[in-house]
């Protein structure tokens, strides 16, 4: 039945849209109920199958959309009829593009995690947590699908909060440890930080929704967008306020200035989580939100400008920090923030197609980089203290590694290209893609953004070009530090290549990173496709000047990185970074992340904590005391009155009789 519908191209699969959410939900419920019975393999199979089925639904929707590109809305159930909000799934080209990314990359990462978590749970010493991980992962896929396919801001918000919850749960997945595996509350704090920072963003989103409802009277996408011209002429300030509040939500979820601080700490989660949630999908929700609300933003140039500036500043700022980091995942985290800045800047200058193109490209190569980084970390861990299945004894440590060895610290790596070749080659492809070397995917997508920025805003353009230069530099620095030179620790010398579920995913993503450019070049397929939803978008095409410039910048920057880190590699883990001397305090600032966390502590958090202490004292001294005294009084009076309860039934009967007598007397008296 299905196949005939596909081949005829006559039928549509739109009615399947809710199943993109249902499949992962079924998977997670199954794993919650039977996870302990079916073992690791069973859990992984169920989770991967659930995620893959969700992806299959997205593919079927894509096939249906090809025949009917204007899309449709699939109502599922009513929710709040008074305010005209229902559970309805919006199937259009933008939503389905996101669904394909989420389902596709998500399924690959599920597969990778099946192998990765096998080691991770053993190194952390709690194999029982394997199932819980996949429950959270499936919950994430379900929430993300809900986010991208909702037909109203409120439904989008449900998914928005759902992915935030999953993010929190997965950052704090090893809540009793820190990132080095010592017992501490660091990971739990990182989860809390992400949650609180997102809450500030959510406040903006919710305020935007409330105000939107008072102005438009609805939260339904179509109805809001239809009203925009009328509202824009009658009440332009309302649109400005709504769009700026939405921007606050975007800065929270997509880790932009000033709320980006949670994302680097979010690397406390297991690496597949960093890849899926904190690089490929969830953090792009903000970009999706702006693209989805493009009608609103197009009507308010001031808000657009603010979005573009926030994005461009973030892109540059995060790129500078990435240059000064030593933790392999921290570099990628700041790189993610920077790349998200590119996307936000793109939606800010109205280049929605370019932003979505870069979003897809980023999902490919950044997921690849994170997963390869995870593969590096596991490879080092396995050499550092081998598991029984790798021929090591339980809890054995190699004494040969330098003091303070950390499997995530790039200073303890080096020379890894020889011992883990698959990881190296895939990492190299991902890195070159990120740097923007043609013909890899980010070359096309980033160029499109920069070209659009050039025609829109000079300041944004220069910020982005500088950021692109730094991007190529820090990824070059990372590759040379990790894979070239000589091994700087015992673990790096004896690293073990990861098993096939992990490497096969790396290879797949590498292939996507290479070929992804075909999406929009030479034929602007993506632009035409998204044009059905985003309205007529003129395809920027490939600007030869811009493309040449940025390719040159990338190559120069990589050469500079080679000159600094590749030509004379670090000798030992303790040697200072070669950039430290020429740059001086600037590099110290990059290393210390420009003291932003410290600034937030001094300006916002410490006063807040002090206020909380006052409130706590008030709570204990005044409120608790009042409650306790009331309780004491009740207890005292009750103790006195309890004597009335003598236990003699005849006494009680007398009491009842006296009551009846009083009532009767009153009735007579009346």
């Amino acid at each position: 039945m299905f196949f005939s519908e596909v081949t005829n191209q006559a039928g549509t699969f739109f009615y399947l849209a809710p199943w993109a959410v249902f499949f992962p939900v079924i998977g997670l419920l199954f794993n919650m109920a039977f996870g302990r019975k079916i073992g690791e393999k069973g859990v992984a199979m169920v989770a991967v199958a659930a995620s893959t089925l969700s992806f299959v639904v997205a593919v079927l929707l894509w096939l249906s959309l090809r025949a009917q590109p204007e899309g449709t809305v699939i109502p599922l159930a009513s929710w709040m009829t008074v305010v005209d909000v229902s559970w309805a799934f919006r199937v259009d080209t933008l939503a389905v593009t996101m669904m394909l990314v989420v389902g596709g990359v998500g399924s690959l990462i599920h597969l990778y995690a099946a192998g990765y978590m096998h080691y991770d749970v053993r190194y952390k010493g709690d194999p029982g947590r394997y199932g819980r991980f996949f429950v959270f992962m499936n919950l994430f896929i379900a929430s993300m699908m809900l986010l991208v396919s909702g037909n109203s801001y409120l439904m989008l918000f449900v998914g928005w909060e759902g992915v935030g919850l999953c993010s929190y749960l997965l950052i704090g997945f090893w809540f009793e440890y820190d990132t080095k595996g010592n017992l501490s509350t660091e990971n739990a704090k990182a989860g809390k930080k992400a949650f609180v920072a997102n809450r500030i963003g959510d406040f903006g989103f919710m305020a935007a929704m409330f105000y939107m409802f008072t102005v438009f009277g609805t939260l339904n996408f179509d109805k809001v967008f239809a009203e925009v011209p009328a509202v824009a002429s009658a009440n332009p300030h309302a649109l400005l306020i709504i769009t700026l509040l939405l921007l606050l939500g975007v800065t929270g979820k997509s880790a932009q200035i000033p709320l980006y601080v949670w994302l680097p700490d979010a690397m406390a989660g297991p690496t597949p989580v960093s890849a899926l949630i904190h690089a490929a999908t969830m953090v792009t929700a903000g970009v999706y939100l702006v693209a989805r609300s493009h009608v609103l933003y197009d009507a308010v140039p001031a808000a657009q400008h603010a979005v573009a500036l926030v994005g461009a500043l973030t892109a540059l700022f995060a790129a500078t920090i990435a240059v000064g980091q030593y933790d392999i995942k921290k570099v990628l985290a700041y790189s993610t923030i920077s790349q998200l800045g590119f996307m936000v800047a793109a939606v800010g200058v109205g280049a929605y197609v370019a932003a979505m193109f870069h979003l897809i490209a980023h999902a490919f190569f950044k997921a690849l980089l994170f997963l390869a980084a995870g593969s590096v970390i596991i490879a080092l861990e396995r050499a550092h203290h081998p598991l029984p299945e790798d021929g090591g004894a339980e809890g054995e440590h190699h004494g040969n590694d330098p003091e303070g060895f950390d499997p995530q610290d790039m200073r303890f790596m080096g020379g890894l290209r020889k011992v883990i070749p698959v990881t190296f080659w895939t990492y190299l492809i991902g890195g070159l893609a990120l740097a923007g070397i043609p013909p890899l995917v980010a070359f096309f997508s980033k160029d499109e953004i920069i070209a659009e920025a050039k025609s829109a805003d000079a300041l944004v353009y220069w910020l982005l070009v500088t950021a692109a230069f730094l991007t190529a530099f820090y990824i070059g620095r990372q590759i040379f530090m990790v894979f070239f030179g000589e091994a700087r620790s015992h673990a790096a010398e004896h690293a073990k290549e990861s098993p096939w579920p992990m490497t096969s995913v790396l290879v797949t993503l590498a292939a996507l990173s290479v070929a992804g450019g075909l999406l929009n070049w030479p034929r602007p397929y993506l632009a035409e496709w998204l044009g059905h939803t985003l309205g007529e978008v003129e395809a920027a095409g490939l600007n030869p000047v811009v493309a040449g410039t940025s390719a040159t910048i990338a190559v120069v920057s990589l050469l500079l990185a080679w000159w600094l880190y590749g030509k004379r590699p670090l000798e030992s883990a303790g040697q200072p970074d070669p950039l430290k001397r020429p740059l001086g305090w600037v590099f110290t600032g990059m290393e210390a992340k420009w003291w932003v966390d410290e600034l937030y502590w001094a300006v916002v958090l410490n006063p807040y904590v002090a206020l909380s202490r006052i409130a706590a004292a008030f709570d204990v001294r005044v409120i608790d005391e009042t409650v306790n005294d009331t309780a004491w009084l009740t207890d005292f009076v009750g103790g006195k009155i309890a004597r009335w309860q003598t236990g003699f039934v005849r006494n009680y009967a007398l009491s009842v009789f006296v009551g009846v007598l009083l009532i009767f007397t009153y009735l007579l008296w009346r």
Partner: protein, 170 residues
């Protein structure tokens, strides 16, 4: 003074006397017999009130079945006589009598002086309160409560059996 009123007064005196006898008799068996007497008196009153069915039910159910049940209980529990004046809450006794007396005065005052004449009894009407009329009403308008009552009785039977099972098995 009509003959009916005379009969009523005599019956009322018998009923009140028997009730007081129940209240004050030390021996449980005597108390029980006094109660039977009250019930039989009431049965006669029901006849006067034009309720022959109720009169018969009163005799069979109350004076018959229930009183036999009481007798069985007396047989099991024995006829211990207690010191009714003493006990841990002996102080309650005078208060109880006093309050009861107050209530009685209030009720008599209310129904003799305040309520007014409540019409005369019209027991002469043919067929009123006959088993046929009662049955018609019971099986039409009150069918559901009637059926519910049967469930109640079944539950009570089972309950009584379960509660006293150990006694029977001994």
């Amino acid at each position: 003074m009509s003959i009916d009123l005379l009969v009523l007064l005599v019956l009322a005196l018998i009923a009140i006397g028997a009730a007081l006898g129940m209240l004050f008799s030390r021996n449980v068996v005597y108390a029980l017999l006094f109660l039977v007497l009250v019930m039989l008196t009431l049965a006669v009153l029901y006849l006067i009130l034009g309720a022959p069915f109720l009169a018969l039910a009163q005799v069979t159910v109350y004076a018959g079945a229930i009183m036999v049940l009481f007798l069985f209980a007396v047989m099991v529990l024995g006829t211990h006589s207690l010191d009714e004046l003493g006990g841990p809450i002996g102080w309650q006794r005078p208060w109880a009598f006093f309050l009861t007396a107050v209530f009685l005065i209030e009720v008599v005052y209310a129904f003799a002086a305040r309520v007014g004449k409540l019409g005369l009894l019209s027991c002469a009407e043919a067929g009123f309160g006959s088993p046929a009329a009662i049955g018609k009403l019971l099986f039409n308008q009150y069918l559901l409560p009637f059926e519910v009552t049967s469930v109640l009785l079944l539950a009570a039977t089972i309950g009584a059996v379960v509660l006293t099972k150990d006694v029977l098995s001994e």
